[in-house]
């Protein structure tokens, strides 16, 4: 069960090797001695390293094989997780090469399949699980890129726009069932995913995202931006005329 201060006993990480997922697990591990973590990710050296890292932090770790594009397996996988899932972090996703993403059919399809379709099927399975449990929090890692598509990465942005809308709606649908969804919209996060890219303004870190998630879960929030100032910035950007928005160096 999650306690009155938003601290879980069992955390499910979908995309368990992502920097943000691991930072969230680290943050909870420090607050919940003996935290159980189910690490759902593709098998391999990265997952092994993540499991070892979390075990070193005192977590009881179970690794399960998860592939975002293998949608037919998602329900079985979530149903098979032992014990109540107090918090599930949906933290998988691809950034992709932004130019290939709109010119190469296969790259575009893969981005859509992982970031949107995979997120939706996972969300359906999590929704079913929460209805059975009568409680549970889903933390969905969206992105400010989904709020207004820009020329530089609009395919990624479109997948995040779709998953953001899905999880926002899932939160409404689960309201009466004891479940809750927190949609997280970080700006540019310095991580493996963005390695080699130049920092965007208001760039943040996986640790900062994790801290914001821990606070938002405790306070029962349904939607946050990281950093918090990004909310106002995006609100402004959404309303800029297209001609002006196009000329911004972002």
């Amino acid at each position: 069960m999650i306690n009155a201060l938003g601290i879980p006993q069992h955390l499910l990480l979908l995309g368990g090797t992502s920097d943000i997922a691991l930072a969230i697990a680290d943050a909870y591990a420090a607050k919940s001695p003996g935290l159980t973590v189910t690490l759902a990710a593709r098998p391999g050296a990265r997952r092994d390293a993540a499991a070892e890292h979390l075990t070193g932090k005192g977590c009881v770790v179970t690794a399960v094989d998860f592939d975002a594009v293998d949608t037919a397996t998602h329900s079985t996988l979530i149903e098979g997780v032992t014990g109540d899932i107090d918090i599930a972090a949906v933290a998988f996703g691809l950034l992709g090469d932004p130019e290939l993403a709109w010119t190469d059919l296969e790259t575009a399809r893969e981005l859509a399949a992982v970031n949107y379709v995979g997120a939706v099927t996972t969300g359906v399975a999590l929704g079913a699980r929460i209805r059975t449990q009568g409680h549970g929090v889903v933390v969905a890692m969206s992105s400010v890129a989904g709020e207004r598509p820009r020329r530089s990465n609009f395919v990624y942005g479109s997948t995040k726009a779709g998953m953001d809308a899905f999880y926002t709606g899932l939160g409404e649908a689960l309201r009466e069932t004891g479940g809750r969804v927190l949609v997280v919209r970080p700006g540019f996060v310095r991580s493996k995913m963005t390695e080699g890219l130049d920092d965007a303004p208001l760039a943040t870190t996986p640790e900062a995202v994790a801290e914001a998630v821990v606070n938002a879960v405790r306070d029962g929030k349904e939607q946050i931006w990281v950093p918090g100032t990004m909310r106002a910035v995006m609100s402004g950007l959404r309303h800029l005329p297209r001609g002006v928005f196009r000329r911004l160096p972002i």
């Binding site: 999650i2 201060l5 006993q9 607050k31 059975t132 009568g134 409680h135 405790r218 306070d219």
Partner: protein
């Protein structure tokens, strides 16, 4: 057939959803136990536990507050037999005109008899009279099997009796209870009030004089540090005899003076209890108390339940809710107690409703909270850093051989509770014997692995 409802405890934290049912008779209740799913059932009374013992995520919550009949009053014993869903408020209103009074009344009358037994509640007279379970002479308990058994403290099913007292509803459903009563001449109290300037003075004043009073409690300033750390207002009293009342009071000697003057509106957008308001409240409460006053006659609400005057007072804490933290440490651990108070006062988390009292001996229940020692209860709004503070206090309490109160807990870790309740294994064994399939479950039992 039933409604899905989202429930929380009185602290308004950790909501979860369950099917809430109100069975009309014992057969319907048995039916609920027989058809319980894997998430089980738990009985809920008036929802005054602060945390999650009366909620059951994904399972069934049985509301028995309609089962509230007074079955028999024996004015010679004196004792009363009731259905367990009756509130202490209704019961006291019925008993008082007969010159009878409940031997233990907790900080609110808005709890059921079943809840009072399950949490083994205590009142201001614990140092003299013990907790609620000490005054229950018989229980009718519906077991998971569907059988109804009678249990008494020393005879039939004594093990079940004491596991049910303080057992947080996990052993079975208390259907009926016989409670021993006190005889009173009036509903008033003769109260002495005394201010103490610091913690040492407070502990010493309570140690010296407590046994002259049936009821004793201290309100406690947790906002002031330094020399005045732990300054307090002690109120102690005894039930008034008729001859101690003035003429006007004698006319209403057995009147039940309990009114509710207001309610807190539903949607306070933010808590009214902030650091500055809580500090101001602490200072005012101390300042308004007389330095020393003896023999004041107070009515029930003034003396017992100042908070019951406002319904839903928990809403002042705003949408994130609050945690109540109540711990006890043995008498030899005054140093740990003082460290805990210092830690609280210096934490920046300010509580307004702080109650300190001396406990007397505990009882035979493996899960009952009171033990001989010092207990302190504080109300803390949910804010960043509260988890760290309370985990730190847990460690102090464990190291001192003390414990925290399950009826108020909403955030402790299972391993911590196991260290605080050394007889937990014994409780688990009794529970496994009477409920092998774990029909009775709650969010609390899942969280704390009870």
């Amino acid at each position: 057939m039933n409604d899905l409802s989202t429930l929380t405890g009185w602290g308004g934290t950790s909501p979860s959803s369950a099917h809430v049912v109100r069975p009309v008779d014992v057969d319907a209740l048995r039916g609920q136990l027989a058809t319980a799913g894997p998430r089980g059932v738990i009985v809920r009374g008036l929802g005054r536990s602060y945390g999650d013992p009366a909620q059951n995520a994904g399972g069934t919550v049985i509301d028995l507050t309609d089962w509230d009949a007074i079955l028999d009053v024996d004015s010679r014993a004196p004792a009363v037999r009731v259905q367990a869903g009756i509130s202490l408020d209704r019961l006291l209103r019925a008993l008082l005109p007969l010159g009878l009074w409940l031997p233990v009344v907790p900080g609110t009358r808005q709890v059921t008899v079943g809840g009072a037994i399950a949490a083994d509640v205590h009142g201001k007279n614990h140092h003299m009279d013990g907790s609620f379970g000490n005054h229950v002479s018989q229980l009718d308990i519906l077991l998971a099997s569907g059988d109804i058994v009678s249990a008494t403290p020393e005879g039939d099913n004594a093990e079940l009796f004491w596991a049910t007292v303080g057992g947080m509803g996990l052993t079975g459903v208390v259907l009926e209870a016989t409670i021993e009563l006190k005889e009173v001449e009036t509903s008033y109290f003769v109260v002495d009030t005394q201010r103490t300037r610091n913690l040492a003075e407070l502990l010493s004043a309570l140690s010296d004089g407590d046994d002259d009073y049936t009821y004793s409690v201290a309100w406690f300033d947790t906002a002031t540090t330094g020399d005045a750390l732990g300054r307090a207002v002690i109120t102690r009293g005894n039930t008034a005899l008729r001859e101690e009342l003035n003429t006007a009071q004698r006319g209403s000697a057995l009147r039940f003076a309990a009114s509710q003057h207001g309610r807190v509106p539903f949607a306070l957008p933010m808590g009214l209890v902030t650091r500055p308001t809580a500090r101001a409240f602490n200072a005012l409460w101390y300042a308004k108390a007389p330095r020393h006053r003896v023999g004041e006659v107070q009515d029930i609400t003034q003396f017992f339940h100042p908070l019951d005057v406002v319904g839903d007072w928990n809403r002042v804490y705003g949408p994130h809710g609050f945690c109540q933290y109540q711990f006890v440490v043995p008498f030899s651990e005054e140093a740990a107690f003082t460290t805990a108070v210092e830690t609280l006062a210096q934490s920046g988390h300010v509580s307004s409703l702080n109650v300190l009292k001396r406990f007397g001996p505990g009882n035979a229940s493996p899960m009952s909270f009171p033990m001989p020692g010092w207990t302190l209860a504080v109300d803390l709004p949910v804010r960043p850093g509260l988890d760290t503070l309370l985990s730190h206090l847990d460690q102090l309490v464990v190291a001192a051989g003390g414990r925290i109160y399950l009826a108020k807990d909403s955030r402790a870790a299972a391993a911590t509770i196991a260290r605080m309740y050394p007889r937990l294994q014994e409780f688990r064994a009794t529970r496994a014997h009477y409920d092998p399939d774990r029909i009775f479950r709650s969010d609390l039992s899942r969280r704390l692995d009870l």
